[in-house]
Symmetry: C2
Subunit: 242 residues, 2 copies
Amino acid sequence: MAHLVRDRLPLVLADALQRSILDKGMGSGDQLPTEAELMAEYGVSRTVVREAAAILSARGLVEVRPRRGMTVREPDPAILSEQLAVLLLSSHIEPGQLYEVRAILEGAIASIAARERTEEDLAELDACLAEEEAVRDDWDRALAMDIRFHELLARSTHNPFFVLVTSPVSSLLRRLYVDQPKYLALQDVILDEHQAIVAAIRAMDSAEATNAILRHLGRVAQYIGQGESKARRASGKVKQRS
Amino acid sequence: MAHLVRDRLPLVLADALQRSILDKGMGSGDQLPTEAELMAEYGVSRTVVREAAAILSARGLVEVRPRRGMTVREPDPAILSEQLAVLLLSSHIEPGQLYEVRAILEGAIASIAARERTEEDLAELDACLAEEEAVRDDWDRALAMDIRFHELLARSTHNPFFVLVTSPVSSLLRRLYVDQPKYLALQDVILDEHQAIVAAIRAMDSAEATNAILRHLGRVAQYIGQGESKARRASGKVKQRS
DNA sequence: CCTTTTCGAATCATATGACAATATCCGGAG
DNA sequence: CTCCGGATATTGTCATATGATTCGAAAAGG
């Protein structure tokens, strides 16, 4: 019985399990021992095992399902998203700063995507453009396709970092203007600019791709929620999406 | 009673508490109800309250200390760091891609820092440079100061995003060459380049600051890792628009 | 012999109670 | 008024019990 624990037992167990998972290179779907086995192996109570499982689950490393126990899972980017969102919100970041970050990220994304894109990426982007055109009058779905478009752009870089980091930044920004009615009116312009971006990427013209997306972001920022105070005031009613 | 819960109770409680915290704008140090009170308020057992606390603690939103209960705390960037590290590792990102990301981030940081830096930032950077020079022969401390230097750069942008995202990327990269003996030999060059960066930032010369840090990163990448020229090529395209 | 159904058992989800450890608070001594 | 020490409330951990859910095997039917 180790009485010298500084950290609480659940944390110790969780870290031990995490290291065990990462070191052994366990893939997603792999099973961890049952609660009873873990109790016996580490000489702790069920409560501790349970809280350790909760911690790992919160970290997105494992999924706990009744009767199946803990199964290793591919870490969920959404968790990072939430983390980043909480941190950014609590660090009093200003909309203008968020926009700056987004411009930098998307500019880099366009440049790299123009270099690294495959034919498959182009096909998906084309499909997305077509879908955007089809739903241009449906506010919710148009927004969803807009999000998807930028996600596909990030994917086209084939650099996981951009896929991971872009979505939280975008979704945070969108919270500021998601209920702006102006958004629909912009649809035509947005569509044109999206097409220009894809064209540049298809041509593998990095400079033009960057320019096109910066023009795009600049216009969106200009038309929508120009300043921070405006944006905040206009978004008085924040709708939660799940 | 509602038997239709698909999410487990601890998660439900954790989310409820999190929303409660964020909505009420509770600051760090603020106290949440005791376990007993939460049990009564939400009509759940202590087990559930406990696991919810573990989840929130894992998310970095609260700190649980014996006898003080749950206290709201300023979210810890280190948690995001760990999250991002796990995600990047498990997404099979390549070192070259990490370099590219770092070049983009640091290039943007230098540019913005040159614009936004205050006198205090400059003072801290100067102090850091002096310290770097003092410990140039001590491997561990030299590395620590190098990390601190880049952290101070990120801080000088006064944009929380860069502070949050830079550290995980850097630390991940450092894991790749942290045990390279070449690092010490580079100390003189590193110091010179750091000074050049600070000089450009002091002069509020964004372009030169970006160039200086890209030269710096390029050299480090070249000497240390199997430097991919990709990173330099792509980052050259990153430019700042006002 | 193969398919379907059903039922049992293993395992997780939650509840309850108990005890230990310890930080905080309050009252008394100086 | 300050300092010290014990009372006390609260968290940390353990043990046990019960309900719920799922997996798998046995049984039933074709």
